[in-house]
Amino acid sequence: MAGLILENVSVSFPIRGAPAQGKRGGVMQRLRSAYGGGRATGSATVLSNLWLSLKPGDSLAILGHNGAGKSTLLRTMAGVYPPSTGRMWTDGVVAPILSPQVGFVPNASGYENIALRGMLLGMSRREVDAKTEEIRAFADIGDWIHEPVATYSSGMALRLAFAICTSMRPDILLIDEWIGAGDALFMQRAGERLEELVGSVEILVLASHRDSILRKFCNQGIVLDRGAIVFHGSVADAISFHGELVRLYAESGRDARPIGRIDFPSLSDV
């Protein structure tokens, strides 16, 4: 039985304190402020104190403005970023579809990239080989499959990436918003394939700005604001809460700040 639980999870990033603009100081002082004796000079808490529990059948929508921490949350769930405090509990095979367009090996052919990406996502060589034909057929890029990926148009690269990523059958599927390139015909086929994939997984986590997609695939939603969960409820409520939040920000005339909270403990010392 698949499951995913975040128990008071925070994620923070080190900020490499580049010497402040216009700041005078000797080389040693600049080095000290840059490396702080091997430690970062500050940290940005991008996710703070998240509590979340997903069981089979749950499909979670993540809402939030740019920089609220959506992608970081997905990467944390995928096991890329370790929680800096708190604990994460998982069961089942987790497959992230985060940013498929990046991470191709540009001078390897489409075929070779299918193998590389498949293995990177955790498939064995044999599994990849068994799926290669099906991936090639869905990507539908003809003889270009034998050419280096560097020569592909962005649409072709996207189709190949989508075909590879959606060929997995995980228990927990994490999708970051990225669909949108590609022509209308491909988008229709992609939509069908995505529906089929989503139907086969036990837990889905989807970050998107498009309400229609969220309503279609998700049955609950959270709203992130500067790294904290400020709302957790049904997907319809989450969407209206998020709309309200955006309106409030617009009225107050303040932009949503790009990152959660920044502490510069040692910059003030310098």
Partner: protein, 311 residues
């Protein structure tokens, strides 16, 4: 005006009441889990990636097919567009080793039949050392996109760097063998000691790659320092000159670890049996130390590498 931006979430949350309800339900569910009431679920804490060397090394080893494939593509990447393709790797080596031997043999009045093999064997190992250090230093930065895509153990990337260097060295091996056959008086079984020597250099290189790749995400200047420092070290290591040239200068090579690492391959091949045992002993000790350092650095610093790359 109040700082709405700072409190917007909380104010709204309190207003609807939903937010608190949602979070408390979750906390209760988590509490239930902690006390084992979660319907016997096999949920377990997701172990922090990249902190346990043995576990992650085993995972990386299972993914070695991926590392091999990636290493191959990176090795031939540079020459993909050239007409001669991958042939440029051995060609560059042959031209440099051959050309410099001919020139320096003339300048310093050395017999070519001993000087050419000496330079060829030395350069062969030096290329491997140089490549591993430079590639190791940027292994993580180079693979940033891949690291941020999946929870693949990051040990894969120093391994890839070393495999790439092995592929590049493999292209040079035919010329090395050719020189060894052409210039040695007779075949000596002791020449085969160069093979374990090469393996030892590889194992040492892997440990150094792991250490450097991790440290370079903390101190990015390190990769620049290595690239420029090694250019300098090249001239202080007996590759183009012989270690017994001048009595007064023996400190330069006697205390130079690169000398012994090169000798574990060069000494058996050129039949220099006096230095070979010492070279093996020193390189073996270096390898042991390098692995201890690598495991320490890995356990202490590897966990934060993804956040360092992503932040």
């Amino acid at each position: 005006m109040v700082a709405v931006g700072d409190t917007a979430g909380r104010t709204l949350g309190r207003g609807t009441g939903d937010m608190t309800a949602g979070i408390w339900t979750t906390r209760l569910r988590v509490a239930a889990l902690r006390f084992g009431l979660w319907m016997g679920s096999p949920l377990r804490p997701a172990k922090g990636a990249n902190t346990n060397f043995v576990r992650d090394a085993a995972r990386a080893w299972r993914m070695s097919a991926f590392a091999r494939s990636l290493a191959y593509h990176r090795a031939i990447a540079r020459n993909r567009q050239a007409y001669l393709g991958a042939l440029w790797m051995p060609l560059g080596f042959v031209l440099f080793a051959g050309g410099i031997s001919l020139l320096w043999a003339q300048i310093f009045d050395r017999p070519l039949n001993t000087y050419l093999p000496y330079v060829t064997f030395g350069l062969f190992v030096w290329n491997l050392i140089l490549g591993s250090l430079v590639d190791g230093a940027r292994a993580m930065q180079e693979s940033r996109n891949l690291i941020l895509q999946s929870n693949t153990p990051i040990l894969i990337y120093p391994l890839t760097a070393m495999l790439k260097q092995s592929i590049m060295a493999a292209y040079n091996i035919p010329f090395v063998i050719l020189v060894a056959i052409a210039f040695s008086p007779a075949f000596d079984p002791a020449m085969l000691l160069a093979l374990p020597g090469l393996l030892l250099v590889w194992v040492l290189g892997l440990a150094v790659c792991i250490t450097l790749s991790i440290l370079c995400t903390y101190v990015p200047d390190l990769s620049e320092l290595i690239a420029s420092g090694l250019r300098f070290v090249f001239f202080f290591t007996p590759i183009l000159w012989l270690p017994n040239t001048r009595e007064g200068l023996h400190h330069i090579w006697m205390w130079n670890p690169f000398y012994y690492v090169i000798e574990v391959v060069r000494a058996p091949l050129s039949g220099n049996h006096e230095i070979a045992p010492l070279a093996f002993a020193v390189t073996g000790a270096l390898t042991l130390i390098a692995w201890l350092v690598a495991v320490f650095v890995y356990r202490r610093f590897a966990g934060a590498v993804p956040t360092r790359l992503g932040g």
